[in-house]
Symmetry: none
Subunit: 195 residues, 4 copies
Amino acid sequence: MVTDCKRERILTAALEIFSTQGFANTTVQEIAAKAKVGKGTVYTYFATKEDVLIDLLDEGLAHMGKHIEERIKLLTDSGMKLRAILREQLRYFHNNRPLMRLLSREAWGQELGSSSIAHRIRSSYIKMLQEVIDKGIEAGELRALDSETVATALYGMVSLVALYAKDITCEAKLEHVEMTLQELFFQGVALSPAF
Amino acid sequence: MVTDCKRERILTAALEIFSTQGFANTTVQEIAAKAKVGKGTVYTYFATKEDVLIDLLDEGLAHMGKHIEERIKLLTDSGMKLRAILREQLRYFHNNRPLMRLLSREAWGQELGSSSIAHRIRSSYIKMLQEVIDKGIEAGELRALDSETVATALYGMVSLVALYAKDITCEAKLEHVEMTLQELFFQGVALSPAF
Amino acid sequence: MVTDCKRERILTAALEIFSTQGFANTTVQEIAAKAKVGKGTVYTYFATKEDVLIDLLDEGLAHMGKHIEERIKLLTDSGMKLRAILREQLRYFHNNRPLMRLLSREAWGQELGSSSIAHRIRSSYIKMLQEVIDKGIEAGELRALDSETVATALYGMVSLVALYAKDITCEAKLEHVEMTLQELFFQGVALSPAF
Amino acid sequence: MVTDCKRERILTAALEIFSTQGFANTTVQEIAAKAKVGKGTVYTYFATKEDVLIDLLDEGLAHMGKHIEERIKLLTDSGMKLRAILREQLRYFHNNRPLMRLLSREAWGQELGSSSIAHRIRSSYIKMLQEVIDKGIEAGELRALDSETVATALYGMVSLVALYAKDITCEAKLEHVEMTLQELFFQGVALSPAF
DNA sequence: CATGAATGAGGCTTCATTCAT
DNA sequence: AATGAATGAAGCCTCATTCAT
């Protein structure tokens, strides 16, 4: 944001292209072109094409982690915490779609150093969710369901909706989607509990 | 299954490697080696490396489509249909993890011919879910939430749990996970509706 | 000679170019072009550009070693052996000028894997010379000079003359040069011993 | 020597690296680093990387030329001149091993501008030797051998011994090597003239 | 003068695809 | 049908050189 040196330009360009074409289908040439720098300049700031990806994931996701935890730590009630997490994750994914799409893409591979990063990041995030849920269950605020499954499910529903939905074109629609997810996650789709 | 000719061997090998290394990081050589055929033989059955991927996704997903729709069409109740879908999708993803991981990986890109396939397949599947949910709402069996969001969320939670959970080591655990998801999706995590 | 497959063509082409331009100034493209094969074909036979050089030195020099030792082992007299060595080395260097020029070039570097080969080869050859000289001294056939220095000097004078002389255009001239070297090495340039 | 400005530092650094890694394997970066100047500074003093090499060879060898000719011109006897040349060349090569190794390396190529310099320098030096030898023969001081061959041989034996011998660790050993070469060159290795 | 960030030409290597056997 | 040697387009990366500070 502030520092608009070449390094930032390269990261921004790389993010955009990686997230649409995937890491392997992107050439350093393309990144340099979109960043409006020479091909060689990329190598002034990054040792390797993969390093660009790693830095992108590292920096971006450290940011999401901090961002969300900040919003949560003030809340004491587990239910409230979960509601806040759902809300913030949805918005973070939506506001950083290219980065999060990239994360989703690369997290499924296994061999590259990059994938393990994406994988690790997702794991630690889900673990955090699980802990919040566990506390909610202990506190008698939430139903005693398997917390790991619920945490993973929460992550999955929010991220897919955020990345997939094409019609979230304005704040109003985003809020509508959020409300739907909150209802779904906390109350379910069934009309009556007896269902 | 029955036909163990080279074509199958190639598809099986490709699936395994694609799903772990990604399409772009896999060489035709590797596929041929794992399939124990000559490199040229791959081109006897497929015009292109990408065609291997496309056939893989096409066949595999057509299969999932048929598989799930078969289980549903006998059911008339929308809630029951959704329960069956959740159950079958979970199991199908779990039983075909490499293929579904591949689908998840490649579906996030946009430019490649392959991605559009993965994307298209996922879209049509979610659309099907949405229709079931819509009918359930019309029939007064489900809460009147935004059906597209709910459909996407359902897809997201099930697929992520199926692909992500490492501890589903036996049928019993799989059933436990399924039950958790069913509870979550239909009743939510909140203890009381008033929550 | 006999096997004129691509591998030989590549080695022959590489030798010619390496020996004139040096290893580092030669492109794989050039080698392929002179060998009349595709650029990629070079990599069917050699893992690396450097491997081409190594194979070249390895094969070529193993050949020289065998060639010369064969001519010597029948001789018993040390003086005769040395005369034969001088003769054969001169001729071998002369007949394989490109290869030996390459050896001389690359043997002076130190870092590359290739150089160490060239270096090693030269060392073992000189050691062999030294042993012959030592025996000659012990047998009272040669003057008791420092054998290592003499061996190195012999190698140096023969190889430089062979590679450097431009006017060795026919067998007669080659024999004249050889005679000169034999006289020089065995009798020296001084007119009288008392000099 | 006296002028220790950046130019000297660059030449010194370049010499050391060129002589071990070869010209083509050395980067301007490395030279600048070892000379403790900025990369750009190299271009303040030299137009081109190759110019560094050329200057190095030019200056260094002009120096050797002057050095040796100075020692010779006072001597009238051809034999004495040759003895002095052998002595001085051996010492000069030994004292300036990196430079002379560089000369030997680069003199074997032909295409580069640099090589032709190295080549030219060596040629003119050998020509000088040849003239001395010719005069010695005319004066009846030396045997009437082919002077070009003898000159080349002398150059070859001295330079190889100087660059190759690893055990010349002190002045005494150097003198011993010199004595051996003098004996060898003037009297030969044979015990009796009748050999 | 001194510097090093910026650049792009060029090299090595990989790999999808072809084709003769 | 099956093969793998052959190919060249294309990508990553290096590095000599320039130039603004």
